[in-house]
Each structure stands twice: as structure tokens, then as C-alpha cells.
């Protein structure tokens, strides 16, 4: 990763992973979307989310980090914090 992404760009990439992995409508994905209540994801999906995010961003999420995700904004924040400084 050569430059720090902005929050919008990260959300765009997370949305892309969510749409491709879980047949979701991009219009349903917002920063405050709840991954279980709004997007209907479960523990199996969490693993595939990690696989998709790694393919998309090169970033690995730990089991604890995955478990901490409640809303889409949590994913964006996790990725933001793990990105190297510009």
C-alpha cells in the first residue's frame, strides 16, 4: 500500500467486498448499517469477509477484530487503523 486511503475510498472498497461476497445491494450499505441486523451476515460470513478484505486490501484482520465488528463503520475504522501511515 503506497498511500493512505480516505474514509470514503475505504468504504467503497468494503462495499465492493460486501456486495461481491454476500449478494448485497450497494444501496443498503452505509457506515451505520448493522452487519447482523441490517445485512443478515453471520459467523460463516465473517470468515469470508476477512478473506474478501484481504484480497481487496492486503490487510489481515484477527479473530478478535472480526468479533468486534458491529456496523460497517467498524470495518472501515479497523482497516483505517491498520493502514500504514502515508
Amino acid at each position: 500500500m503506497t498511500e493512505k486511503w480516505g474514509k470514503d475510498e475505504i468504504l467503497e472498497r468494503v462495499t465492493d467486498v460486501l456486495v461481491r461476497s454476500f449478494e448485497l445491494d450497494p444501496a443498503d450499505i452505509r457506515l451505520d448499517s448493522h452487519v447482523v441486523d441490517d445485512l443478515d451476515l453471520d459467523s460463516i460470513d465473517a470468515i469470508d469477509l476477512a478473506v474478501g478484505l484481504r484480497e481487496q486490501t492486503g490487510i489481515d484482520l484477527s479473530e478478535e477484530e472480526l468479533k468486534s465488528i458491529r456496523i460497517v463503520g467498524d470495518i472501515v475504522d479497523l482497516l483505517r487503523n491498520k493502514l500504514p501511515d502515508a
Partner: protein, 415 residues
């Protein structure tokens, strides 16, 4: 002595290269139409001699199947789910409480899990020494009992699950062990059958044994079970499901009864792991008869395994002659849609029962001159034969020397 409960078929369906409903399948059979086709993609495999496959070309995952239902399914499980959905619908059990309250179990198999998903794991872990790119459901799609487990998940089944993964007897053992589960009172209802999805690895495994047909320019002329000019089998795909039910349970819910299953024999040759053994085959046919309490003369039609391999055809025909004599009409449905491996026992049982109900039986396609080394049986050839059969038998044989014989009886409302 406990008395065995009677077991009836109350639903059945299949997804096959000839069609996925009996009307379409029977029209193809009556027109003498086979599903064998030249497949150019087999050009890409060094050493592959055959180019022939019997693929299902029109299967699409039904739109009402949800992502969470299908994410753990490879094609093999999807084919099985569709066949089972159609069979449960015919039985009047789609969405019924008794399917998902523990009353119903599953006995179902395939020769393999989804090869495409196994390839993902093998490529990552074995070739590239990485876990990256492997998804949570890839294992579930290729595990040995993927079909039975996915069916249980899909239909909410909470009874016993018996994965009958014994290569080409997966489907017939599925039906047989389902019957025994009901006879002994362990379950009142069973979803039974077998499935297989096509993958070049399945053609390869027979090709390396010189067991495939290589008449690549004449797909309509192969396979040729029991024919002097046979040159091997053609691999197909599909899924077949029978809904088996305790007779009293079926009567209590006023189910339409299709036929009764009255015999199941299974054994093992215990001799050679790939070559069929005539004695073992003959013994399983005897076991089927004994289980049904019948004499050989009471069988009105035999659905042969009839793969069109030299060793298989000769051994099967001689074993059939040894137990059943030469007077019982026999034919091989594999001449129409190839060898569907884990699905064949279930697809062939489904079609045989449909033909029994309609009073005719299919001829073996491409059987022009019976191989002199085969027993002189009453092979149905050229045209369908009208037979008002009361009792029919379906035999299947698998690598590993596993053999099965299933016996069904026509149902009459006076029974």
C-alpha cells in the same frame, strides 16, 4: 422376533441429462434419444482419450434458493436439493412439520464432494502452501457427506443422517439404508438417494483404467452395454431422490402411495478392489431376493447396472443368469444418460418405478449384437417392451466391490 414395518415410496424425482421430470425423460427414452455429447474441453487434458460426457446443460439454481441455503453447496448438493424438493413436493411434504421435527432422516450419498471446491483447497494448501483465498464454505462443499449434510440444512431435517458415499452404489445404498431405518422403526420418513456433479476428474479416473468409450466421433452410438462392440462407459451427472415412508404413517396422512420397497441386499466382493466379482454380484442378487422373500421367478424386470465396460457387463450378466435365470427382461438405462456414479442407483430406481407404473420398459440403446461372452439373458432391445410388472429389481455395483440389489413392488389400492 420383531416384525418389519412396511415401507412405501410416496415421492420421487430426479435431475438428469435426459430431463428433470418424468414426462421429458420418458419422451427422450421413447424417442431413443441419448444425452451423450462430444465435449471439446476434454482436449485440454494430456493423456485423456475420451471426449464423451453426458452433461446436464439446462440446470440453474432456482431463484427462490437463498444465499445462506446455497453458500455451502457445490453443484452436487444443488442437484440433490432440487431433486429432493421435487420429490417432497410430490409426496405432499414440502414445508411439512414432519420433515423438520425429527420424524424424517436422510440417507444419501455421492461418490465425492464437489471436486471444484476440493481443487481450491488442494491448489492453495498443496501447491501454493497458503491458506489465503480459502473460504469457510469450501470444505463444506467438498466434504464426503456434503450432500446429506446440505440436504439436512436445506430442509431442516433433524433425524438421522446416513451418508452413503460408496462410489457407484451411493444412491442405491442410500435407498436401501433408508428402507432399513424405517423398517426397524428408527424413522418414519427418509429422504433417500444419490447425486453426482460432473467434473473432468471423474472422466479421468475411468480413462486411466481404459474404461471410457473413445468412439468420440459417434456419441450417439455409445455407451453400448452388453454389446459385442462396446468400448467403455461415458460419465454423466445428476441426482435422484426417493421419499420413503412407513406405510402406516403414509396412510394416516392419506398420502398417495407410488410403490412398496420390499427388498434390499448389499454385500462386498472382498476380492479385488476394481474388478467386479461374479460370485459377489450373484450373492447380492440372492440377498435382495431373500430380503424380499421372493423366488427368482417372481422378478418381472431387472434394471441392470450395465456400464458398458467389458469386465462389468460380462460379470453382471453371468451373475444375473446364475441367480435369476435367463427369462427375466433386463435393460440398462446408462445407455441413455451415461454413468452418473453416485446418482445412478437413485436415478435408475426412479425411472424403473415410473416405467413399472406405466407398464413398459426401456430397451438398452446401442445393443445390436450381444457379446457372446455375456449370458444369454432376455435383453430388451430396439423398442420398449410392454410388461405389466408386479415386482422389479435394480442392481448396482461399485469400486471397492460394493454391491446392491433393490426390489420394489407395484402398489395397488387394494393393498
Amino acid at each position: 422376533m420383531f416384525s418389519k414395518r412396511r415401507v412405501v415410496v410416496t415421492g420421487m424425482a430426479g435431475v438428469s441429462a435426459l430431463g428433470s421430470d418424468w414426462k421429458t425423460v420418458s419422451e427422450a427414452i421413447l424417442a431413443g434419444r441419448s444425452a451423450i455429447a462430444y465435449q471439446r474441453f476434454l482436449d485440454d487434458y494430456e493423456g485423456m482419450r475420451t471426449r464423451l460426457v453426458a452433461p446436464i446443460t439446462d440446470f440453474e439454481t432456482p431463484a427462490h434458493y437463498t444465499r445462506k441455503q446455497t453458500r455451502s453447496m457445490g453443484r452436487v448438493a444443488l442437484l440433490a436439493a432440487r431433486a429432493t424438493e421435487l420429490a417432497l413436493d410430490q409426496a405432499g411434504l414440502l414445508g411439512a412439520t414432519c420433515v423438520s421435527d425429527g420424524t424424517t432422516g436422510i440417507s444419501y450419498g455421492s461418490a465425492a464432494g464437489s471436486p471444484a471446491s476440493l481443487a481450491i483447497y488442494a491448489d492453495a494448501v498443496h501447491n501454493r502452501h497458503t491458506l489465503h483465498g480459502v473460504r469457510a464454505t469450501d470444505y463444506i462443499r467438498y466434504m464426503s457427506h456434503t450432500v446429506a449434510a446440505n440436504l439436512a440444512h436445506f430442509f431442516g431435517v433433524k433425524g438421522r443422517v446416513i451418508p452413503t458415499c460408496s462410489a457407484c452404489t451411493s444412491g442405491s445404498q442410500g435407498i436401501g439404508y433408508a428402507m432399513e431405518s424405517i423398517q426397524t422403526g428408527k424413522q418414519d420418513l427418509m429422504i433417500a438417494g444419490g447425486a453426482e456433479e460432473y467434473h473432468p476428474i471423474e472422466t479421468a479416473l475411468f480413462d486411466v483404467m481404459y474404461a471410457t468409450s473413445t468412439r468420440n466421433d459417434e456419441p450417439h452410438l455409445v455407451p453400448r452395454p452388453f454389446d459385442a462392440d462396446r468400448d467403455g462407459l461415458v460419465v454423466g451427472e445428476g441426482a435422484g431422490t426417493l421419499i420413503l415412508e412407513d406405510l402406516d404413517h403414509a396412510r394416516e396422512r392419506n398420502a398417495a402411495i407410488i410403490c412398496e420397497i420390499i427388498g434390499f441386499g448389499t454385500n462386498c466382493d472382498g476380492v479385488q478392489v476394481t474388478n467386479p466379482d461374479r460370485a459377489g454380484m450373484a450373492r447380492v442378487i440372492e440377498l435382495g431376493l431373500e430380503d424380499a422373500g421372493l423366488d427368482a421367478s417372481e422378478i418381472d424386470y431387472i434394471s441392470a447396472h450395465g456400464t458398458a465396460t467389458e469386465v462389468g457387463d460380462i460379470a453382471e450378466s453371468l451373475a444375473t443368469e446364475a441367480v435369476l435365470g435367463t427369462q427375466t427382461p433386463i435393460s440398462s438405462l446408462k445407455s441413455y444418460f451415461g454413468h452418473t456414479l453416485g446418482a445412478c442407483g437413485a436415478l435408475e430406481a426412479w425411472m424403473m418405478i415410473e416405467m413399472m407404473r406405466e407398464g413398459w420398459f426401456a430397451p438398452t440403446l446401442n445393443l445390436d449384437n450381444v457379446d457372446e461372452r455375456c449370458a444369454k439373458l432376455d435383453y430388451i432391445r430396439d423398442v420398449p417392451r410392454n410388461i405389466e410388472a408386479e415386482i422389479v429389481m435394480s442392481n448396482n455395483f461399485a469400486f471397492g466391490g460394493v454391491n446392491t440389489s433393490l426390489v420394489f413392488r407395484r402398489w395397488r389400492d387394494t393393498d
